[in-house]
Symmetry: C2
Subunit: 230 residues, 2 copies
Amino acid sequence: MVAPSLRARVRAGMIDEIKAVARRHLATDGANLSLRAVARDMGMVSSAIYRYFPSRDDLLTALILDAYEALGDAVEAADAGTDRTDLRGRWHAACRAARAWALAHPAEYALLYGSPVPGYAAPDDTVAPAQRPPVTLVGILRDGVAAGRLDPSGEELPEPLRSDVAELAALLAVEVPPALLARGMSGWTQLFGLISFELFGRINRTLPHRDEYFDHQTGLMADLIGLPAA
Amino acid sequence: MVAPSLRARVRAGMIDEIKAVARRHLATDGANLSLRAVARDMGMVSSAIYRYFPSRDDLLTALILDAYEALGDAVEAADAGTDRTDLRGRWHAACRAARAWALAHPAEYALLYGSPVPGYAAPDDTVAPAQRPPVTLVGILRDGVAAGRLDPSGEELPEPLRSDVAELAALLAVEVPPALLARGMSGWTQLFGLISFELFGRINRTLPHRDEYFDHQTGLMADLIGLPAA
DNA sequence: CGTTCGTCAAGAGCAGTGCTCTCGGTTTTG
DNA sequence: CAAAACCGAGAGCACTGCTCTTGACGAACG
């Protein structure tokens, strides 16, 4: 590993600074990010930005990738920081971490899980980081099955569906019976809905104790999955 | 009711035509709707549109209102078209209707439930139509309680939460015990997540039999709620 | 019936956008 | 040391939402 040239170092610094300024603009102006505005903030001319990002969409893609990684880090860290045998505690910790990150970075969350930008198509690089939160969640189920604390043997999915979900399990690289994975996906789906409603919607305006509501809702899904308490 | 003048009639026709053309553009170009483009399609000049809508946001608001009503109509009709005593059938019918409408009008669904447009704030006129789908869903629970087929008397919510949810029940004008309403909201939240994942996401790319997956997922929530089959 | 008032489409124009290209100047590389 | 790569600035194109003014048309009133 040869030391990077000075030019490469300032280039990396510029890229970081552009992304930081763009993130700041994202927080205030939403998804319609203006290249000219971030260039202005940096005392540059808009065309100079194109030396670092070939287009506005590429800048957005970089921000999206960073956001996916940040969210994945937060969720995985919360899960890893909980007693491995406390399945229900791990579920709650992971869900809370996702919500906390979303509340702290609403614009970036909207970038990840909001309506897709019309002309924009997410490149394939994003699919792996995007799967980290749900993989973490179903990882809790896998550990539960492996430890014998989660036994869905009494349930079997009807056939067109069973093989689909089994394929999904293979894709996510988790060994979980299809019927249980389907319940886990339901929990992940509801978690995404919960956070989105709280961030975008206005029905939660009538629920002052949001933390308690969130914990209760995710607890309901833990019940559905059958996660035992510690 | 006096007959509207000719001028008022052609004006109403123009408004309808503008909305129709805008909806068409919405379907292809997404949320960044161009006033000039719809004006071009109508053989008009962009400034002429402002005779009918004071701004682009007002056009979007009109489209959003129409979309909320259309979705509400679809869900309510599906529920009303099912045997009133078949609670589980009504739940599935309402969920399927919401999904079918969303799949048929993805751009409008994104307008309603996607990330909010940055500078745009939904006016208060939208909150009542927006509540129609969840109200329809919890209406099924209310009927179940009234008919004695749904009995959540064994469950009680802890206190900061119980009064919040009770207030929500009053706001939605449905007489449902808080603990049951919380389960119903969980189902509504998961339904929204299901549809959004299918429309926006790419994880369902790996689930070819989407209808079966959807029915199974909504069935899981019907289980959580305790909806009995017919 | 004729006049006045409200409404309408059109056009010019402003400020802003993403993006391309060219032009000098600097840095790295062979 | 020269060649090649890189960089920032500037001009310019096509596009956007929106405002203002102008001239024409239809409807209501005297």
